[in-house]
């Protein structure tokens, strides 16, 4: 039985669980490397999940659903960017407000569009891609995710854009003195996090649950942020951390039916997150100007 628990199936399950977290976490990396704290990722994921369902429902094309998800996420991120970068409002307050707004907005629109209390009709997910020559299938989004991880890692650490973005997070005044447009760079980081967060939410509703349920993110956006911290604000690190969270989640599902009350099992991801945050102290350092508005 123990052998049955640790299996390839478990790892695959863990991978699937980690996808939404990873996308959101990557988004967090871009945003925070530029210096903007984005706790609105929870709300961004939620609107992304909703957008994916809406897009797919009306066009029967899940790829349009992805597009819708990314645009919805982009819009929420845009508000966050305007409020925290241009108006220099406290980023936690802005993020919290957007989370409240996203929750209200998605339920509101869901009831309007689908006329159902709290959940949408069932939708078809994406056509799975086949590994050539085998019977194994994998969701296209997972393939996209891996591509995004690798591209992000290269972009952030090896390109001109990445250098400038990181400078804006570590010492925006130095960047400014050398002609880097700090405002524009920070906007780009936040908007990218909107797109990626939206994709994360899309996986949740499109590939995982095949439906939109109100509040379906249940804190994943915050867990993703913990993953980003644990992963030291790097794409590869974030993915590793989120994979671990996914593993915890996959294990949790297998624990159901072992006699432990389900509520306690439900608590596991949150407790794990808190422990992770404790363990990380002193070893992971955020970009120096993360969360601090830039003012000339």
């Amino acid at each position: 039985m123990i052998g049955g628990i640790l299996s390839l199936e478990l790892l695959v399950s863990a991978l699937r669980m980690s996808v939404p977290l990873t996308f959101a976490s990557l988004g967090g990396v871009f945003s925070e490397r530029g210096g903007v704290v984005n706790i609105a990722l929870e709300g961004i994921m939620l609107v992304g999940a909703f957008g994916a369902v809406v897009g797919t429902y009306f066009t029967n094309n899940p790829w349009i659903g992805l597009l819708t998800a990314m645009s919805f996420g982009f819009l929420i991120a845009l508000i966050h960017a305007v409020v925290s970068i241009t108006f220099r409002i406290n980023q936690i307050i802005s993020g919290t407000a957007l989370n409240i707004m996203s929750a209200g907005l998605t339920t509101f629109l869901s009831r309007l569009i689908f006329k159902a209390a709290g959940s949408s009709p069932h939708i078809e997910g994406m056509i799975q891609w086949r590994f050539p020559g085998t019977n194994w299938q994998i969701s296209p989004l997972i393939v996209i995710m891996f591509a995004v991880i690798i591209v992000s890692q290269i972009v952030i650490f090896k390109t001109r854009y990445g250098l400038r973005l990181r400078a804006c997070g570590e010492n925006p005044y130095a960047a400014d003195s050398l002609g880097v447009n700090v405002i524009r760079m920070r906007y780009s980081g936040v908007l990218i996090s909107g797109v990626l967060g939206g994709l994360g939410g899309a996986f949740l509703s499109l590939e995982h649950a095949r439906v939109f349920v109100e509040g379906m993110t249940t804190g994943r956006g915050f867990i993703a942020l913990a993953g980003m911290i644990f992963g030291r604000w790097t794409p590869l690190g974030s993915f590793s951390a989120c994979f671990l969270f996914g593993l915890a989640e996959a294990l949790r599902m297998r624990l159901e039916g072992f006699g432990i009350p389900t509520q306690f099992i439900q608590m596991i991801p949150y407790i794990v997150t808190m422990c992770v945050l404790i363990g990380v102290v002193g070893r992971a350092v955020a970009p120096a100007y993360d969360g601090i508005p830039f003012e000339k």
């Binding site: 407000a97 707004m101 804190g219 913990a226 808190m274």
Partner: protein
């Protein structure tokens, strides 16, 4: 003096106006008449005595929640975990109420104390993690929310489930009469205010007002309030001034959690007389809006709570009588938060510039 008051309510007032305008646009797009919808939203609440009764009833938990967020904020902390503190505090006081049959003079204060202590302890978890490990309290308090909901859900479904329950939503048995906070309509009727018995407004409201005064006094007139504010503004200088920021962080989260714990009392001891799974419906988060709108000031918090109380009351009617889903209220609340924050910031900078030039 009057000028200062006017300036300080300018931002919140404009923010509310703007948020309602945005809401009106949304309603219009939906094909409804904004004025009609808003009339339904507000009329029920403010024109009848009973309406006000419901409004103040709704406002009561928001006052506590707003105070909780505001106090934490003064201490430089973001307590997003009020929702969890509500559940834990509420369950603790419910537990006492269903276990011990005592006289109301004992039952009510002890119930309140239980709510405060357990809510406070729940808050301290995040406070301790921050003080000892520097772990960010935003994520931790949010995690604790989910844990609290799951925990109380378990408790109310298993050991404390009401035997032979008919209600599909799990709940505990009813509280003993000694732990019930009575409704106010008998008193009000005696003094000429005709409140009907169905209005659940109860004495918890006055307890809330009392705590407003208490919190104000604590922050402005005591040494501990001074230290909390000092740490909230500048922990480093506070250390130099002989204050231990770690103790203060833990104290702040305890007090904030205690206030959060009290927010559930209105429902548990004053209305349902039992603990109902999931009764809170977001009061903890609305508290954030209330604190912001009220500018972390007890008077402002009361007004903001009443405003949101009106909205909550009207949302139901709006939902039923028009085609506007009640979640629009949540959207408007969120917009209010953003606009208030922006407005506050602008006013603050304007004042700064004025003060500096008058040097």
């Amino acid at each position: 003096m009057l000028r200062r008051i006017l300036i300080s309510i300018l931002a919140p007032f404009l923010a509310v106006l703007l948020a309602f305008s945005v809401g009106a646009i949304v309603i219009y797009i939906l094909g409804e008449n904004p004025l009609y919808v808003y009339k339904i939203l507000l009329v029920n609440s403010v024109t009848k005595v009973d309406g006000w009764g419901y409004v103040l009833f709704n406002a009561t938990p928001l006052i506590f929640s707003g105070l909780a967020v505001a106090l934490a904020f003064k201490g430089g902390l973001f307590n997003i975990g009020v929702e969890g503190q509500i559940y834990i505090g509420a369950f603790a006081c419910a537990w006492f109420g269903i276990t011990f049959d005592v006289h109301p003079l004992i039952g009510i204060p002890v119930g309140l104390i239980f709510a405060m202590i357990f809510g406070g302890l729940w808050g301290v978890i995040a406070g301790y993690l921050k003080a000892r490990f520097g772990a960010h309290e935003v994520i931790n308090t949010i995690m604790l929310n989910f844990i609290a909901i799951a925990l109380t859900n378990y408790l109310v479904n298993n050991p404390f489930k009401e035997p032979g329950q008919i209600n599909p939503i799990p709940q505990t048995k009813e509280l003993f009469s000694g732990s019930i906070i009575p409704r106010v309509y008998p008193l009000f009727n005696r003094i000429g205010i005709n409140l009907s018995p169905s209005v659940p407004l109860n004495y918890t409201f006055f307890i809330a007002i009392f705590f407003c005064i208490l919190v104000w006094y604590f922050l402005e007139r005591t040494r501990w309030g001074y230290e909390i504010k000092a740490v909230g503004l500048n922990p480093r200088a506070s250390r130099y001034g002989g204050i231990n920021p770690n103790y203060i962080i833990i104290l702040t989260m305890f007090l904030s959690g205690a206030l959060g714990g009290l927010a559930g009392v209105n429902d548990v001891m004053g209305y349902r007389h039992r603990f109902l799974d999931g009764f809170s419906r977001g009061t903890g988060f609305t508290g954030i809006a209330v604190a912001l709108l009220g500018k972390n000031n007890p008077i402002g918090i009361v007004f903001a709570s009443i405003l949101f109380g009106i909205l909550d009351r009207g949302a139901l009617a709006m939902d039923v009588f028009t085609n506007t889903p009640r979640e629009l209220i949540r959207v408007i609340q969120a917009i209010i938060i953003i606009f208030v924050a922006i407005g506050n910031e602008f006013i603050f900078r304007l004042l700064q510039r004025l003060e500096r030039e008058s040097e």
